[in-house]
């Protein structure tokens, strides 16, 4: 094991495997539901504490990978256990470890059946999620990326709503089908780039345009399904609606980010020319997500479905920013992902609070909730406003940065767009209005109005446990909205490096390589 980090300690490995080791311990030695809950909470909190030094000891001035670990894993194929984080991936690890704690607290009372299995599934899921963001070897990345399907399949299928079997099988097959092409692309790149799976080596290797073109498409299918982008988004509303509350929180908070992270870690730096070539394509799909999906969200009768569609629309903003190749836009996209991780997670938790009381997610079944649950109404108000991107909330920072970045795109992005990117920014800006429409309208119908329904009259307000897990989320949303600098600082150097990679063509180097040393091409039969 080689370590290259300031702590001289395999902190990333510990972050990845602590949840699974804890899960093993709980599986073997902890008996009784209440004990399992406390033990799982302890494991998740410990994991969160282990990930904190990543933030504290992170060097902001550099785009280099930090806290690196290297160990040979499968020498026959030069697959290595290579870990490291930069300013792009590090915030997601903290996001994951924090949201897992919140998920486990939120499930305290509402999961009463098979508590142990539920907690184990969440802890194993945490391992795979943190693994995805740490991996610097493409096969290791794929390993965690796919392994994530097993716990998620069980979480939705065992503890989900009444249509859960359909939703979970759809989720499983959709994402599996999306990612298999990525595997083919990785295998082809392995031979092309000289028998290596190192992500950093892939970033440096000059692929010619034909290669970039096809690999980009293979990656795009994998990442677009995960984001999800229109028109491959249909698994998400089903999965979100049927998943238990904490499942929705993890889906919206982390899983969707994996797709966009894939664009930032793979497509942009490895395939800059293809990424530029496909800018119009991604922009059009993103705008469809922003405008059309927002309209779809407005018409939803089910609260979870509405938030699911709202997530797709917000992720449209993220993909738009990603493919503008400017510092503001990409940082805005990254910041948007983190902000959305808190806001969407909190909104799902709000729905979960309501669902625990009335066991329905239909908007029409509520109304006048403010009369019986004033504290809850205030909390939900904060997150609805954040979802609308009101100034002072974290989402505002993200949206304004993406819009500014889109208004002033890089030359590389503008060169491939038929119209001025200003028009793109103007269309994207309609989202500000549309998200206000669907969010506030939902809030009005659920919270305000007369207290006419007897069922609603009997709803108790939030208890301390429920209030407890909203507090950190409120603080974070407001803190990031008012003072986003610490997070932006972390991203700054890495994003700058990424922009440089994404706007520097690899074609010259590829041509030079082809003339200097004609490599034996893979003859595609």
């Amino acid at each position: 094991m080689e370590l290259h980090n300031v702590l001289d300690f395999p902190i990333l490995s510990l972050s990845i495997f602590l949840p699974t080791l804890g899960a093993l311990f709980i599986w073997l030695f902890v008996k009784g539901d209440e004990a399992v809950r406390w033990a799982s909470l302890a494991v998740s909190v410990a994991t969160f504490l282990v990930t904190l030094p990543l933030w504290i000891y992170f060097e902001t001035g550099t785009s280099h990978m930090q806290f690196e670990e290297f160990h040979r894993w499968i020498p026959a194929f030069n697959i290595n256990y290579q870990l490291g984080v930069d300013g792009i991936s590090m915030p997601f690890i903290l996001l994951t470890s924090l949201l897992t704690v919140i998920c486990i607290i939120s499930a305290w009372r509402c999961i009463t059946e098979r508590v142990k299995e539920y907690m184990l599934a969440f802890l194993v899921l945490e391992t795979t999620l943190i693994g995805v963001f740490c991996a610097l070897d493409a096969v290791l990345f794929y390993f965690f990326w796919e392994a994530m399907l097993i716990p998620m399949y069980l979480i939705i299928g065992v503890w989900g709503g009444k249509n859960r079997v359909y939703a979970t099988i759809k989720f499983f097959l959709y994402t599996l089908a999306g990612s298999v092409l990525m595997l083919v692309a990785l295998l082809a790149m392995y031979f092309k780039a000289g028998h290596t799976f190192s992500i950093l080596a892939f970033m440096d290797y000059p692929f010619d345009f034909t290669w970039q073109f096809w690999i980009w498409i293979a990656f795009f299918i994998a990442f677009a399904v995960k984001v999800p982008m229109w028109p491959v988004h249909t698994w998400l509303p089903d999965a979100h609606t049927e998943a238990p509350t904490a499942g929705s929180v993890i889906l919206a908070g982390i899983l969707l980010k994996m797709g966009a992270y894939g664009f930032l870690r793979f497509s942009l730096p490895m395939l800059p020319d293809a990424s530029q070539y496909f800018v119009p394509f991604v922009v059009v799909l993103s705008l469809i997500a922003v405008v059309y999906i927002s309209l779809v969200a407005m018409m939803q009768k089910d609260m979870k479905r509405l938030i699911a569609y709202s997530s797709i629309a917000h992720m449209g903003f993220v993909t738009l920013g990603t493919f503008m190749f400017t510092q503001q836009a990409v940082e805005g996209a990254l910041f948007g992902m983190i902000s959305h991780g808190f806001v969407a997670a909190a909104l799902f938790l709000c729905v979960g609070v309501l669902y625990d009381r009335l066991h329905t997610r239909e908007i029409a079944d509520y109304g006048g909730v403010v009369n019986v649950m004033p504290v809850f109404a205030a909390v939900m108000m904060v997150f609805c406003m954040a979802n609308v991107a009101l100034p002072g909330a974290s989402a505002f920072v993200a949206e304004i940065m993406v819009l500014i970045g889109t208004f002033n795109p890089s030359d590389a992005a503008q060169a491939h767009l038929a119209v001025s990117a200003k028009w793109v920014a103007i269309i994207a800006a309609t989202s500000v209005v549309l998200s206000a429409c669907y969010t506030l309208w939902m809030y009005k119908r659920v919270i305000f109005g007369d207290l006419t329904k007897d069922t609603v009259k009997g709803m108790p307000d939030m208890n301390m446990r429920e209030f407890g897990y909203f507090v950190p989320l409120i603080l974070l949303v407001v803190w990031l909205g008012v003072y986003p600098l610490p997070v932006l600082d972390v991203m700054h150097a890495s994003v700058a490096h990424l922009i440089e990679q994404a706007t520097t063509t690899k074609l010259d180097a590829a041509a030079a390589l082809a003339t200097a040393a004609p490599m034996q091409e893979l003859a595609v039969r």
């Binding site: 026959a76 794929y142 599996l176 083919v184």
Partner: protein, 487 residues
């Protein structure tokens, strides 16, 4: 050859065959011993068979020293490739015998059952050492004849009889085709030795091309039948469904190893001159096999039938390694077959363990609610199924990885994309079983076999797929070493 010293004069040739000779002698002795074993203690024969396999394994390790040796004037070869596949065959047979100990208790004439399995194993051991069409044919027939009888072992069951008859008729037909193909090659090259045929074919005049092609087609058809490659897979679902479940497990693993190993030897040694034609035919069959196996499995309600089609699907994936050829392709096939041996047989072992109201659990519905009643079994079965689906952190992922990377290296990118899409189709019917186990409520009370050895087998196979999934390197290295010198 390793310096095995014997207290009596022992011909040099025979020492390479020591494991086979031991199995043959001990199996025949067992046949006599069995006469004196009382009816209610027939499991003893089973334990003695296990001991025989152990003896054969020890003998194999004694005579194997990493070199390649031929004996009997080139009729028999013992190289690392043969040794590794023999170990797989021994392991597969041992697991199948353990599964049978409890299952077969209710039947009569149990003794022969175990001896027949030993003879089938002997046939396979011979088969993987064949570098000559005569040895190959001997091995195939010894294996097949024993398995025909085993499939029809439940004499009072119509299903079992039908399966055996179908398998026997189609099997004989395919043996005929194989022999017919061999005659063409013999006619053109006047040889039965794989390597000599390969050299002769490379030098054969083009006027012989039609005869050679005919021979090639017949030989591939005959071998394809043995490994159930579409369109010669028809017997598989019926035979798998009708056979006693331990025999189904046995058939899904060990004979496939033997069949593919001899397939590799023929393709690598005898057919390099016909590489283009071989790859073309095999590609077509692989495409068909993956589609038939994975699509038809979706429609099955009987889990044994479903796993039969799933085996066909996996055969399609393994064929990719054969198409890719070269060291990495053949090593990939070995990785695949080794991992499949564990996950396939483990899944069948769970089926054997499950009984509902005295009947073996065979319908998918029978798995409903398993996770609540027996979380341990459900977890093991779940791991095995996710592994069969090829999801990472389980061995099945690396099995697919090993053949796919070889196929990409050989330039068959489209085939790999096709295979991966069908592996997604395959994932559907595997996770559907997980759905029954974990998402549904139990309808009928369970009644489990509590055989300790069986439970240990299930636990060990499940653990094997996890361990191989997390650290596959030793197996991959072993397989890479085993194929050095092949092709």
């Amino acid at each position: 050859m390793a310096n095995v010293t014997f207290p009596f004069p022992f011909p040099e040739h025979l020492s390479a065959l020591l494991p086979e000779i031991l199995v043959a002698v001990l199996a025949m002795a067992l046949l006599i011993v069995d006469l004196f074993v009382p009816k209610e203690r027939k499991a003893l024969t089973g334990y003695l068979s296990l001991a025989t396999i152990l003896v054969a394994g020890v003998a194999l390790m004694q005579v194997a020293d990493g070199t390649s040796v031929t004996a009997f004037y080139g009729f028999f070869t013992l190289d690392p490739f043969a040794v590794f596949s023999k170990l797989l065959i021994l392991a597969g047979t041992a697991i199948a015998i353990i599964m049978s100990l409890d299952y077969i208790r209710s039947e009569e004439n149990v003794g022969e059952y175990f001896v027949l399995m030993l003879f089938a194993m002997l046939g396979m051991m011979l088969l993987v050492s064949a570098n000559n069409f005569v040895t190959m044919y001997l091995g195939i027939e010894l294996m097949a004849l024993s398995i025909y009888v085993l499939v029809g072992y439940q004499r009072d069951t119509l299903r079992s009889n039908e399966a055996a008859l179908k398998y026997f008729i189609l099997g004989s037909l395919s043996s005929g085709m194989l022999l017919y193909g061999i005659t063409f090659f013999y006619g053109v090259t006047s040889s039965l030795d794989f390597k000599q045929i390969g050299e002769a074919l490379a030098a054969a005049p083009s006027s012989e091309h039609t005869a050679v092609l005919l021979g090639l087609v017949f030989i591939i058809a005959g071998l394809a039948f043995k490994v159930s490659m579409a369109p010669f897979h028809m017997w598989t679902p019926d035979a798998y469904e009708g056979a006693p479940t331990p025999i189904t497990a046995f058939m899904s693993a060990a004979p496939k190893v033997a069949g593919f190993v001899v397939f590799v030897r023929i393709v690598a040694d005898a057919l390099p001159a016909l590489e283009h034609e071989t790859v073309m035919i095999l590609s077509g069959m692989a495409v068909l096999t993956m589609a038939v196996g994975n699509l038809a499995a979706i429609a099955q309600r009987n889990i044994k039938r479903m796993l039969a089609y799933s085996t066909i699907g996996h055969v399609g994936f393994v064929t990719l390694g054969l198409i890719a050829g070269s060291g990495s392709g053949y090593a990939g096939m070995l990785v695949y077959l080794a991992i499949y041996l564990f996950m396939g047989m483990g899944a069948f072992a769970v089926i054997v363990l499950m009984r509902r109201e005295g009947i073996q659990g065979e319908l998918l519905d029978d798995f409903a609610g398993l996770a609540k009643v027996r979380p341990g079994y459900a977890l093991a079965m779940g791991l095995l199924l996710f592994s069969l689906a090829g999801i990472p952190f389980l061995g099945g992922f690396w099995a697919k990885y090993a053949v796919f990377i070889a196929a990409v290296q050989a330039g068959h990118v489209y085939l790999v994309i096709y295979a991966l899409l069908f592996s997604v189709v395959g994932a559907f019917y595997y996770i559907r079983v997980v759905k029954y186990m974990y998402f549904d409520e139990a309808r009928v009370p369970f009644d489990f076999s509590e055989n300790r050895l069986m439970q240990a087998t299930v636990a060990l196979t499940a653990m094997a797929v996890v361990v191989l999934g997390i650290y596959p390197d030793p197996l991959m290295e072993l397989c890479r070493q085993a194929v050095i010198g092949i092709g």
